[in-house]
Assembly symmetry: C2
Homo-oligomer: 199 residues x 2
Amino acid sequence: MSDGKAISTHETRQRIVKAGTELFRRSGYTGTGMKQIAEAAGAPFGSIYHFFPGGKAQLGEEVIRTSGAVYLGLVTALTAPYEDRVAATADAFAAAAGTLAELDFADPCPIATVAMEVASTNEALRQATSEVFDSWIEYLAAYYAQGGVPESAARETAGSVIALLEGAFMLGRAARSTEPVRAAGTAAAAIVRAALAGQ
Amino acid sequence: MSDGKAISTHETRQRIVKAGTELFRRSGYTGTGMKQIAEAAGAPFGSIYHFFPGGKAQLGEEVIRTSGAVYLGLVTALTAPYEDRVAATADAFAAAAGTLAELDFADPCPIATVAMEVASTNEALRQATSEVFDSWIEYLAAYYAQGGVPESAARETAGSVIALLEGAFMLGRAARSTEPVRAAGTAAAAIVRAALAGQ
DNA sequence: GTCTATATCTTGATAGAC
DNA sequence: GTCTATCAAGATATAGAC
């Protein structure tokens, strides 16, 4: 994305990326096989290596960056309409709780499980997840700053809200309950409120 | 633990559990091989199946429950001395940031990566992680309640603080930075402060 | 109980026919 | 470009000598 390189829109290729995204968020990176991805995509096994000569690592990186951009769009669409940053944050968490249940407790965040797996084992993929997280934090920081949070505190506030959401997804998946995400919504509102008050 | 069943204190067995704990927190459950664990434990491969006839799943479950109990002890020791719950929370996050760096950004939480991997793929292990998270939340909830947080809000507050910590570990590992954890400390203090004020 | 060798399966990846 | 067959290496797990 960052270098503006054109990405093929070939339909088979797109199905492979989509299948990879869905499987990675449920079974993780090491827990998902290339054959499994090919089957889920309805594509012959060889096609994966035709479109991704770099193999699993290349596919993994593209899944991370693509779904990261999609997710940024979702967060933007969900929060942008609100003038009240506290209400926007609380409602976003409520929506996230709904998504968690709809996915039958697969991870609503498409890169979280992979991020944990690769953080200490694959430098290229670790960097990709880091850049995606950063893009979300930067958007939210600007959003909060525009809403009245002091510039110096905006990034810390945004990072904490993202962390709270990711952690709540983790607890909610483990417990197969939306309760941790709903509770986190209350806490997120408190974080934003405190930041707006300048502590 | 919960059923009081005696656990062997055989030294080889202990080394296997310890090696599994260290490898799982860096490479995850599916990303770690049994041979790798045996080698790291300095134990012959066959010993793993001698002590864990249930194979990888049995070892995984014991690692989760054992390290969960150890971690509960750490959290207790870290927070119990404080009268001021806000200060206790802030200092615990500061300590966690230090641990993250000391581990060279392996996960300070020994079960988080595994929890994400197994949530949708292994029901027995998912339940084990859920019970461990719950034990932490229950301790913290009682701790906050005793410090003046209304009973009705104590569990939500505790869950949110744990979620915030876990999410901050995730972002910190991805970025190879302690900054997300330090920022989360400020936010966690705000959450506890708001709960003490009854919102 | 310790340790080695091996069975069986699955993985990521490649070669080559069509 | 599509698809199949196959590779070498890894996995989990087992058998059995000592």
